[in-house]
Symmetry: C2
Subunit: 244 residues, 2 copies
C-alpha cells in the first residue's frame, strides 16, 4: 500500500509571484490542489478514478495558516494526508515546508464527493470505504478546524461577472478563483506592510458562467476581515482573512 502521507515539491516561478517576489495565496492554493489531486490519484481515488462513478471531489471548507511565504526561485514541499473520513466529508490536512526545512504553514480542507448528475453529496463510507484505510494522524495539524464565517451585509465593495477562465472542468466556478477574487478586494498598500497569516473559506453555493457576484467587506477587529461573496443577495462563499 502507498504510504499514508504524500510529499510533493514545487518550484516558485518568478512570473507567478506577486509584486513582492513572494508566492501568492492562490498559488499556494493551487499547489494544495495539485498535492491533493496527486495524493488521491496515487491511492486510487483521484479525479480519473472517481469520474467513472460520475463523481467529483468538491472543496467545501478550507483553512490555511502561513507564517512565511516562499519567494521566487525557492522550493516548497507540500505534505498531505487524510485526517478523517465521515459519511459526507473527507478531511485532508497539509503541511508546507520551505527549502530550509522549516515548516511555514498548514492547511485543513474538507471535501465532499458530489454526484455529477444529481449534484448531491454521496455517502463516502458506503461508496468508497477503502479511503478510510488512508487515515493517519502521524503528523499533527495544529490549526483550527474550519468553522462558520458570518454573513456581511451593507453595500458591496466590489463585484465581478463569472467568465470563461473562472469555470472548471465540472462546469462550475473554480475553487481557487474564488480565493483570487477575494484577495483582490484589498488595496496593494496592505500587501506592502503585512501578509495574510490566516485564511478561511466556506464554500456555500456553486456559481456558473455569467453569474454577477458582489463582494461585501467588513473589518471585524483590526487586521481581521470578512469577505462575503454574494449572488443576488445570497452568499456563495465567505472568507475570514487575518493580516499581520
Amino acid at each position: 500500500m502507498e504510504s499514508k502521507v504524500g510529499s510533493f515539491n514545487y518550484h516558485i516561478e518568478s512570473y507567478l509571484c506577486d509584486f513582492r517576489g513572494k508566492a501568492t495565496l492562490p498559488l499556494i492554493g493551487n499547489f494544495l490542489l495539485k498535492a491533493a489531486t496527486l495524493h488521491a490519484h496515487e491511492r486510487g481515488f483521484g479525479y480519473e478514478a472517481v469520474v467513472k462513478d460520475h463523481t467529483a471531489w468538491v472543496l467545501s471548507r478550507l483553512t490555511m495558516e502561513i507564517s512565511d511565504y516562499p519567494g521566487f526561485d525557492e522550493e516548497l514541499t507540500v505534505e498531505t494526508w487524510i485526517e478523517d473520513v465521515t459519511r459526507y466529508f473527507t478531511q485532508r490536512c497539509l503541511r508546507f515546508i520551505n527549502q530550509q526545512g522549516k515548516t511555514v504553514g498548514y492547511a485543513r480542507s474538507i471535501w465532499a464527493a458530489i454526484d455529477t448528475e444529481s449534484r448531491k453529496p454521496k455517502d463516502i463510507l458506503s461508496w468508497r470505504p477503502d479511503i478510510g484505510d488512508f487515515i493517519t494522524t502521524e503528523i499533527d495539524c495544529p490549526i483550527r478546524k474550519p468553522g462558520k464565517v458570518p454573513e456581511v451585509g451593507g453595500e458591496p465593495k466590489s463585484g465581478y461577472t463569472v467568465r470563461y477562465s473562472d469555470i472548471d472542468i465540472n462546469g462550475h466556478m473554480n475553487s481557487i478563483k474564488y480565493i483570487e477574487h477575494t484577495v483582490d478586494i484589498f488595496d496593494l498598500d496592505i500587501f506592502k506592510s503585512k501578509s495574510i497569516r490566516s485564511f478561511e473559506i466556506m464554500y456555500l453555493a456553486e456559481c456558473a458562467f455569467g453569474d454577477k457576484l458582489k463582494l461585501h467587506l467588513t473589518e471585524v477587529v483590526p487586521g481581521e476581515f470578512i469577505v462575503d461573496t454574494k449572488k443576488e443577495g445570497v452568499s456563495v462563499c465567505r472568507c475570514r482573512i487575518v493580516w499581520e
Copy 2:
C-alpha cells in the same frame, strides 16, 4: 555548452482545465513562460542572472497557433529555442508536442531586455553578446511573425480594474493576465463549438495597480476578432484571435 533547444514536460492538471476538460490558452501561455524561463536560466540569462544587472525580460509580441488542445491528465512537451537576437529584441520560438508525439502547435515570441530603473530597453548585443551563441534554426517554426494589430474604436464591450493578482514581480501587469482577460471577453457558447486556433498579442504599454482598462472588440472577418485593451483611450495591448 548547453544544447540550444530546451525541452520541458508539463502535466495538464484537471483543476486547471476549462469546462471542456482542455488546457486553456493562458495555461499554455504559462507553460510557454515556464519553458522560456528555464531555458534562459540553464543558459545563464534567466531572471536571477539578469536581475543583477537591474534588467528584466519583457514580452513584447507573441503569436501562438494550436491545432489541438491537450486534455486533462495528458502531458505536453514544450520545446524552445532562440531564433534570432537583434539590438533590442530576442526572438524565441516554441513547439508544442502532445503525449502521442504529435506536434499540436507553435509559438513565436519577441522579448525586450528592460532596465528596471529607467524602464528603457537595453542594447542586448552589447550587454549580453553571448546570448547570440544560442541562436539556432535546427527546428522550423512554420508560423507567421508577430505583426501589427490594428486599433479598435467605438464603445468598449467590457472592462476591469488591475488588481493585486494581475501584478507581477516587476510591479506591472503580468503578461499572461492580459491574455486571460482578453479571452474572457468571449461568451462560453463559442468555446462549445470552436477553439482558438491562432492568437496574436502586441503589448504596447505597461499597466499598474488600479488602472481601469476597457476592452474593445470587433470581428474583422467571420471567426477572426480583434480585442483592443485601452487605458484612458490609449491601447495597452491588442490581440488578434482566430476561432475554428
